[in-house]
Amino acid sequence: MIKTENLTRRYGDLVAVDSLSITVEPGEVLGFLGPNGAGKTTTMRMIAGFIAPSSGTVSVCGHSLTANPVAAQACMGYLPEGAPGYDEMTVQGFLRFIADIRGLSGDFRRSRMGDVIERLHLAPVLRQRLETLSKGFRRRVGLAQAIIHDPQVLILDEPTDGLDPNQKQEVRQLIQDMAADKIIVISTHILEEVDAVCNRVMIIARGRLLADDTPDGLIARSRYHNAVSLSLVTGSVDEIKNDIAALPRVASVELDQATGRVTAFPAGDQPLLPDISRLASDKNWNLKELHLESGRMEEVFRSITTGHSA
């Protein structure tokens, strides 16, 4: 379990993290979202025990990071931002060093080494020095060192940064495979990633926690949640816009001039799609597309972090 209470970090006058109180339980994959400079990395560094809080407390697996950092760090794996490592070491040497420091030995050590090398496809580069690795391999070596001791708690600062789409998918799969009984905290800029791997999302900006929800709950806050979009092959969009606006449960209708797409926003919780599809068949619209919007994470993110209500 990760528990923080009024966790605060100041740099001079700047408050990087402001009274953050969170609890993360096993089985949760928590995604930290926030603009650059929001305090994501500072928070993760305090949880990992790299920097001390200015005030407040943080504990991992029941061990306080101030009173007993070594015990807390022993049950945690950490991938720092940018996946740093020792450039002059080979991948194998580096992983062995981490395994030594983590106190792995015997059969367990052998099986863990084999496991991370296989999971992260490191076999081809085992004898290469870290400085010669591509960005993707470097990141994977960083992930390998973080999970080598099969930790209860995993803190990953931008784990998929710099990876290509296939590698991103593999890392997401890796996170999901490990998620069952662990605590995983990831920070990311990529909003789909949160939807893909996390079951809990926190949005922070200017050091403050602004939202704490499930990905679905967050998307449901979107203006686009349950909205209906459609576009025509031929016909007057202005006319259908007025027709849709006349429906009883429609709050507003917007027309995107560039794409010619009309979007209708619902007034209440009731779905609009049946009403609009009935209207479309009644009026014989020549439809190119008609679909139900689930909500747009980007829009929720923007509205939360810039302070406008969603």
Binding site: R45, P69, E88
Partner: protein
């Protein structure tokens, strides 16, 4: 204890994984030989001792030890690996001690490789080998003192060149703190007690006794306390500005 050993192993291997180790060892041998034979007049003195060899060690170390110590923490800082290292389950003290011992051992290896001069002097005459062993010990302690200063200064910066230069300056002040160059600046405006204290910190004074073969427990304690204090200071510096 085992954490210190693991860090030690990694750091020592790091020296030998780059050309630095070989460049350093070769230059150390060349310079110590050149000083001994040309500046120290090893042959012309006509004495079966290594005084002309050891008397140049403080000056050799003044430039060569900072070259070893500068990377210890500054490199970790500039590459960001400090964050990885300090989030592993080990204490700052273990990391610092492991690094120091590795660097010190590396300088000990360079020193040990000067053994041909010992063989030479034994071939040429009958030196007091006990005195030579004591002088080697003194030289090792001197290297350790410089190294501990270097560790602390390396911990304060991410720039290895700055670490190198500042370490030389601080080591130089410690080396000569018993001499006019430093003391004249302090005389006149500081009480005599403080001036005497500063004078007692002179590496050169403590080293000279040992290099002549005189084992004074005070000299050994001086270096031991000095090393411990600078290493302790390193952990404080690291704690204060780990993430900078």
């Amino acid at each position: 204890m085992s954490q210190i050993r693991i860090i030690f192993k990694r750091e020592l291997a790091a020296y030998f994984s780059t050309p630095l180790a070989f460049v350093f060892i070769v230059i150390f041998q060349l310079l110590s030989g050149a000083f001994t034979f040309y500046l120290g007049n090893f042959f012309a003195r006509g004495q079966a001792d290594l005084a002309s060899f050891f008397s140049f060690h403080p000056w050799l170390y003044l430039f060569l030890i900072p070259a070893i110590s500068m990377r210890l923490w500054a490199e970790e800082r500039s590459s960001g690996s400090i964050e990885l290292l300090l989030c592993l389950p080990l204490t700052l003290w273990q990391a610092t001690l492991g690094k120091f011992l590795a660097a010190w051992t590396f300088s000990a290896i360079a020193l040990a490789l000067t053994f041909p001069i010992w063989i030479t002097v034994n071939y040429l005459g009958q030196p007091d080998n006990g005195a030579i062993v004591t002088a080697y010990l003194g030289s090792l302690l001197l290297a350790g003192g410089f190294m501990a200063i270097g560790v602390c200064i390396s911990a304060a910066t991410r720039n290895q060149v700055i670490a190198f230069i500042i370490t030389i300056v601080v080591c130089f002040l410690f080396l000569l703190s018993g001499f006019g160059l430093v003391l004249d600046v302090l005389h006149g405006w500081l009480p005599q007690l403080i001036v005497d204290t500063v004078a007692s910190f002179s590496f050169l004074t403590h080293f000279q006794a040992l290099s002549k073969g005189v084992i004074d427990l005070r000299d050994i304690v001086f270096f031991a306390v000095l090393i411990a204090s600078w290493l302790y200071a390193s952990t404080i510096v690291l704690n204060l500005k780990k993430a900078d």
